[in-house]
């Protein structure tokens, strides 16, 4: 099968998008953007300066009031236009994502759809941000209203694993509610958001309403510290999420900071094994295990362990690895050489601690893509709760196979984790499923579903060290995060 065509071989030096203009950074620090499947350099991204970030914040602040005065229905029209343009550019967005991130084309298409879905939901803003009132609510002849108002300028600091979807968890809601926005994409994968911002520009959003500033922690710190920024949304690792939460809060910002994960998928003896294995293959190996919702620990309860492991190994051996622009590929590389090294170290560590590597992806090579950062699907048996691999976030296609006696033991183990992003159960028993969803302390629970990714109209975040903040991403939570409630009490003589 021939590869799908790359949109461009090289994207050159990226610019920032500030106040409706594409501006070249004055920085002398540029990073190469690498295609993780081929190792080819496909562009350069600037590490923008503090002054450039401040200029973007000022531009956003200058733009937001007129935008706030634009009726919600008129704001919504731009999102309808944007949706249409994103549909037209759908395939290009997906292919650029494959080029810079390494996921498969199907995964990239799925992600592009997710981004569009957030635009679709944000287009409903006239209904979503309505306030409420009560006649004589304060006293006889005195009415009380709660008005929902935007706040000003918000910013997002985005990770490498979902270059299209994650910025779209935030900015469409912020802008639809009448705020201005600054996106800092991951410097590892800035191309997708760069392309999407061109589409946003084409849709006709006013200058300064959506700004794109490429860079590193200097950009993030400037956004967190600037008095004109009202709130920060972040997705990334737990240590950084903690820092973002603390530092933004110290500077009086609203924060929603999504951190790492360590997700366990529990298989009960009554599970439908064929369907379970098929579904879990997508969870553990999809996006090369680099989803914050990816399965990591596989907990077999009771006598299901041996038949489950047998089927799992059979399924794993059939996973086809390669460049995601080949549509028959099931799994791409991890994002970088550094990420690959980290995953391999975890597998080495598990082996040293006594676990047995049944399928070993450490030396995986894809013919024709020898410079790619591929880690093959890896299955480790005999993992126990005290092992590092059972506790730490690996962020790679590695399955830690664990055996437990009961659902209670599995839930206790899940609760022992400092993370609380997602957990799933595979069972045909309503009782077990109910028990699981009721008791498990995670933000996302799957019942016979291994990738518990909330849709745009539902909130998304984890519990415990997987999330710092209170209002989640997407849906009604996003509307609340980007607005405030103002009470107006009225009396006319």
């Amino acid at each position: 099968m021939a590869l799908l065509t790359e949109v461009q071989k090289n994207y050159g030096k990226l610019k920032n998008f500030v106040n409706g203009e594409w501006i070249e950074s004055t920085t002398d620090k540029w990073l190469d953007i690498e295609n993780p499947s081929t190792g080819a350099i496909i562009g350069q991204v600037p590490m923008s300066t503090v002054d450039e970030t401040k200029a973007a914040i000022e531009a956003a602040h200058e733009a937001w009031w007129a935008w706030r005065e634009t009726p919600p229905i008129a704001r919504a029209r731009l999102f309808f236009k944007l949706k249409e343009l994103m549909e037209q550019h759908f395939e290009n967005v997906a292919r650029i994502m494959v080029q810079e991130q390494g996921k498969t084309i199907d995964e990239a298409r799925g992600e592009t759809r997710r981004a569009i879905e957030n635009v679709e939901v944000a287009a409903g803003i006239p209904s979503l941000m309505m306030g409420y009132n009560l006649e004589d609510g304060a006293a006889e002849g005195i009415d009380e209203d709660a008005v929902i108002s935007p706040l000003g300028v918000f910013g997002a600091i985005c990770p490498f694993n979902f270059p299209a979807m994650i910025p779209f968890w935030f900015w469409p809601y912020a802008v639809a509610t009448g705020n201005a926005y600054i996106v800092k994409p991951s410097s590892q994968v800035p191309l997708t958001m760069n392309y999407l911002t061109k589409i946003v520009e084409q849709a006709g959003f006013p200058p300064g309403i959506l700004n794109l500033v490429n860079g590193s922690h200097e950009v993030s710190d400037t956004m967190m510290e600037h008095p004109k920024v009202k709130g920060i949304s972040f997705v990334g690792s737990t240590p950084v999420a903690k820092y973002i939460y603390k530092h933004s809060a110290e500077n009086g910002k609203r924060v929603q900071a999504q951190g790492g994960a360590k997700n366990s998928l529990v298989v009960m003896p009554d599970a439908n094994l064929d369907r379970t294995v098929a579904n879990m293959l997508a969870s553990y190996y999809g996006c090369a295990g680099q989803r914050c919702l990816a399965g990591s620990n596989m907990i077999a309860v009771g006598n299901v362990a041996d038949p489950l492991l047998k089927k799992w190994l059979e399924g794993t051996k059939k996973i086809k690895m390669g460049y995601g622009l080949d549509e028959s590929v099931n799994m791409g590389p991890v994002v970088s050489a550094k990420a690959k090294k980290k995953v391999i170290e975890y597998i080495d560590g598990a082996e040293k601690q006594g676990a047995k590597v049944l399928i070993d992806g450490r030396k995986a090579v894809v013919p024709g893509y020898e410079k790619g950062h591929f880690v093959g699907p890896t299955v480790i048996d005999g993992v126990t709760p005290d092992m590092t691999i059972a506790k730490d976030e690996v962020f790679g296609p590695v399955v830690s196979f664990m055996r437990m006696e009961s659902l209670d033991e599995a839930i206790d183990f899940i609760h022992s984790s400092p993370f609380g992003n997602a957990a799933s159960i595979y069972t045909q028993s309503g009782r077990s499923a109910r028990d699981f969803r009721y008791r498990v302390q995670c933000g996302n629970i799957g019942i016979n579903v291994g990738i518990v990714a909330a849709m745009a109209y539902f909130p998304f975040a984890g519990y415990k060290n997987s999330f710092f903040g209170d209002l989640h991403g997407q849906g009604q939570d996003a509307i609340k995060f980007f607005t405030d409630r103002k009470v107006v009490i009225t009396r006319w003589y």
């Binding site: 099968m1 021939a2 549909e87 759908f90 395939e91 498969t104 084309i105 199907d106 995964e107 298409r109 799925g110 992600e111 759809r113 997710r114 369907r275 098929a278 579904n279 293959l281 997508a282 190996y285 999809g286 399924g315 059939k318 996973i319 086809k320 080949d326 549509e327 028959s328 590929v329 099931n330 579903v449 990738i451 990714a453």
Partner: protein, 149 residues
Amino acid sequence: MVECDFPECTTFGAVIRFSLELEKGAAGIYEELAKEPKAASAAALFKELSELHKKRGTMLENMRQQKLNEMILEPIQDMNRELYLIDTNVPKGADAKAAAKFVTKVEETSARFYVDAAKIAKTIMAEGSRFMDKMGKENLAIRTKLAAL
């Protein structure tokens, strides 16, 4: 010859790609046959069928774009592409009967593919499954039309 590139059917996207190649192949074959002087009596039908296959391709692309959800991107491990390959070497100088015989095989192979793909798609996307099932039946209906030539 109509250029087609059939992938291994290991993902839902690859199954759709296979379908798109089948449709592209069929549309191209009918287009070439419609130009055959000896098959002139069937030219109108061949043109119509070429358009039909192009339309089906567009519908498949739309379905992929609108309905694909990463939650259901389960690997597909039971479809053997070799069973569904079509011959895209269009015979030169074929009369209507020979041309009909050639495309009948294409339609039968496509029908077989869609029947099997519909079963697999059932657990992934109900509408996709229904659409493929419908296309398979359509392939067989076309075969009947071709038999009348």
